[in-house]
Amino acid sequence: MSTPLLNVTGLKKSFDLSQPFLNRLFSGDERKFVHAVDGVDFSIERGTTLSLVGESGCGKSTVAKLLMGLTHPSDGNMRFDGNELAGMSAGDPPDVRRRMQMIFQDPFASLNPRWRVARIIAEPMKSFGTHPDPSERRKEVDRLLEFVGLSAADGEKFPHEFSGGQRQRISIARAISTKPEFLVCDEPTSALDVSVQAQILNLMRELQRELGLTYLFITHDLAVVNYISDYIGVMYLGRLVELAPAEQIFAAPQHPYTRLLLETVPDITMAHRDMERPAGEVPNPITPPMGCHFNPRCPLATDRCRTEKPEFLPYGSSRVRCHAVQEGRADQAVLREDL
């Protein structure tokens, strides 16, 4: 096995939600922290796609921001091709950051509305100095526009003249303009309509094949994940609960939360299932449950689950954070009783 392009170990990020010191002094409140990312380990091989899935508040987008330097980790390491990124700001060091780019969720907010498209796409090349000559830069912009399925003339237009899908193409053109090796894609299709989503997903697969890109794909949509990923990591309240090859997640999900997610995806082929079960909701991340975060919703929870945090241990070809799986209780158990 080759060395992975990206290696993340023990990554943590907590946000301080405490009142200011003086207010705390008077109200007697304790300091409050949200552990948005609470010890995450994964690595991504060159040319492959790892998807992080989870519901809102599970910390998947924070992982993306940490990798890109948009926020700083509280603890842990992020090594990109041997370069340590923890403690480095966005865009720094330039020769490494040039090789990592990001595609954002909201195609309406990710392009500066006052800039022409050509200027938007050229910004990374200008900033990182990959194409110092303006006329060459312009030529490259035209090439990129055509590469992502737009026309060179579109460079003169403003973002509001494009549809959501076309804007996401512009975003992609900007992201690949510095010839990166690694793309972080934060829910790139969740704001798009289905028929357009397919276009963008196909384009991203094509880019991966042609340019040999490595993706970290972040989404809440398991069906999208199925199409795009080689490996899948399932996150719950800041922790990875299962990490496995894509086929395995779908064929043999281990963690009870992964199973719950798979079961609840609305499916166009399975009409009128009865799904009204007491499966609960994601708890408040400020006060996560003790032990395993998933225990209040888990049909397999025991006293051990309620007190002891499970470790992230290898299980077959995957890794799982679950006492029940590690104790061998998960296989036979019926996940949840029907009403």
């Binding site: 865009g91 990001m102 954002f104 969720q105 500066n112 006052r114 900033s127 900007r174």
Partner: protein
């Protein structure tokens, strides 16, 4: 490029809105007339009211030309120093507008810079800027202006007071008005700062200064334009108030406010025209500016369209 920008402007919603709003068009025409009158005052005026050699004391306190006892040379009559009121108003308008525009530019420049820095940098810097703004807001604007005026008069030798008056006014009014800009720009900056296009710029190693100037600034200027317009009216009024109170433009270089003050002293002796005509011009000017500002605010607000 220029033609495409121009045609884009003509085709824009704002331009369309403007062509379909009689209020906007009337205020704009009125303002353009007033600006032209101020700009070409030396050509339009029948005398230079600042030049004492052109004044004839015998002609003092003449009523408007159409009133009995009026003199056809003095259209709107004269004041007690025999200055032609029509010419004085043109020159006074000029001074009022200079003070108004200059103080708006000063206030906007100061407010935009501080608001942008505060909103973008945040933390202690932001706290310091906004506390100063809060303190300033807790004083009536006129009091701050009086204070600046008083300090300036204390520092400058008396013989320079008249010459420096206009600068002192601009400074006084500018310093009291920047807070609004700073607050608005700070708020919009904090919204824009979180948007993904700013994150994209950060990822690509664009400096904080570059992000502020090239990304955020163009996106926060819309509301500033509205404030600046309405503020022009406020600035002209503040100038008039200060001059009316006698701490603004001196009687030898009367602005609209000074003229009203002078007229006010003679109002009860039956000399009504000295106070009425400058007041009417002031009201029309401020009204037109405010109507235009209101229209601009509505036109820029997508929710009202």
């Amino acid at each position: 490029m220029t033609t495409s920008t121009l045609s884009r402007l003509y085709d824009s919603d704002i331009a369309w809105n403007f062509r379909h709003s009689w209020m906007a068009r009337i205020s704009t025409v009125t303002l353009l007339l007033l600006f032209a009158a101020a700009l070409f005052a030396p050509l339009l005026a029948t005398q230079n009211p600042y030049d004492i050699s052109q004044l004839f004391l015998l002609d003092s306190e003449l009523p408007p030309s159409w009133v009995e006892g009026g003199d056809p040379r003095y259209l709107l009559g004269t004041d007690q120093q025999a200055r032609d009121l029509y010419s004085s108003i043109l020159y006074g308008l000029r001074l009022s507008l200079i003070v108004g525009f200059a103080s708006v530019v000063l206030a906007a420049g100061l407010g935009i810079s501080l608001g942008l820095i505060g909103g973008f940098v945040g933390g202690m810097v932001d706290g310091a800027i906004m506390r100063v703004a809060d303190i300033l807001l807790s004083f009536p604007a006129i009091l701050v202006a009086l204070l600046v005026n008083g300090v300036a008069r204390g520092i400058l030798p008396p013989d320079q007071h008249a010459d420096a008056a206009i600068w002192v006014m601009i400074l006084a009014i500018g310093l009291t008005n920047w807070v609004q800009y700073a607050r608005t720009v700070r708020g919009s900056t904090m919204v824009e700062r979180r948007k993904e296009y700013v994150q994209a710029a950060r990822i690509n190693g664009v400096s904080g200064m570059g992000i502020m100037m090239h990304h955020i600034l163009p996106n926060v200027l819309g509301p500033v334009l509205v404030i600046a317009t309405i503020n022009l009216g406020m600035a002209v009024l503040t100038e008039a108030t200060l001059s009316f109170l006698g701490v603004g433009m001196p009687a030898t270089q009367p602005s609209l406010g000074t003229l009203i003050r002078i007229g006010n002293e003679y109002l009860f002796s039956g000399v009504w025209w000295v106070v009425i005509f400058p007041s009417v011009v002031l009201v029309i000017l401020v009204l037109a500016v405010n109507l235009l500002g209101d229209w601009l605010r509505d036109a820029l607000n997508p929710k009202l369209r």
